[in-house]
């Protein structure tokens, strides 16, 4: 018998949560381990290298602050998009989703601007341990931001085709959970790299 079961919307009786949501949280748990490993390595290296970041110069605190503000705004827009799609407000939901994509892209543009101010001056991952950590942490984080932008773009185009509504707003919730996680990671990377 071939029964079509909407697995994403199904709930496990044991947890009471939709399988898709529980799956996303388990994925995020594995991502926590990934970034925690990188951050732990950074902390150990930071304590063992008193000359930090070294004579090559410091990062621009204000660009980092601007990027943090941008990601905080994007977290607000994505949660508003979810609220609007759940309430059936398609147009407003699409707009908030678009803002999330724009803000995420702005974050990457600023990050690219920062990289372009360092790389041509010979400040490379191989320059010293600080810059190795900087490029590794921000590079992996940037890739995660890019992944979030692609997911939100896919949702935006579906919404433009009129294929998003209260019944499948959970997809925005899943993308939103990932986006908020990426934001939380940056909330720790920003002070560690730019402020301390």
């Amino acid at each position: 018998m071939n029964q079509s079961v909407p697995m994403c919307a199904a709930s496990f009786e044991e947890t009471g949560e939709p399988a898709s949501k529980l799956g996303m949280w388990l994925f995020l748990a594995s991502e926590v381990m990934f970034f925690a490993g990188l951050i732990a390595a950074f902390v150990v290296l930071r304590f063992t290298h008193p000359a930090w970041p070294g004579p090559e110069g410091h990062l621009n605190k204000w660009l980092g602050t601007a990027n943090t503000f941008i990601l905080l705004c994007s977290s607000w827009t994505v949660v508003m998009a979810l609220a609007d799609f759940q309430a059936g407000r398609q147009r407003s939901g699409r707009l908030y989703l678009l803002w999330t994509i724009v803000l995420g892209s702005a974050f990457l543009v600023i990050k690219g601007f920062e990289y372009s101010a360092k790389l041509p001056h010979g400040i490379l991952p191989s320059t010293n341990i600080f810059w190795s950590c900087y490029y590794t942490l921000t590079g992996f984080h940037g890739l995660h931001v890019l992944g979030g932008i692609i997911a939100n773009l896919w949702l935006f185009f579906r919404a433009m085709q009129g294929r998003m509504g209260p019944s499948n707003a959970y997809k925005v919730e899943l993308a939103g959970l990932y986006w908020h996680f990426v934001d939380i990671v940056w909330l720790f990377l920003f002070p560690m790299l730019y402020l301390l």
């Binding site: 947890t15 748990a29 925690a36 607000w76 609220a83 908020h180 720790f188 002070p191």
Partner: protein
Amino acid sequence: MTNAQTASKTYLWIWAWLAGLMLLSVVASELPLAPRLITVIILGFSTVKALLVALYYMHLKQDRKTLSFVAVFPLLVVLAAVLLVASSRLVKL
């Protein structure tokens, strides 16, 4: 006021708190205090911001405790690993 309006208002308030705490972190980094104290203050602010995002934007406050457990468990594992390494006589930091 409907539930949706209340939720939207809450989201905006959380955003304001997040932005405010971010600015306080930047200001704190300029204060003439002991580096260790500044580190504690700034990472404390980061922890509060992460909690606000997780509780309100990721809806852990209203979701079942199962998801909170899934979210907290890896952090406990990491904490245990860090404490193990930091307390080990075999590892010199």
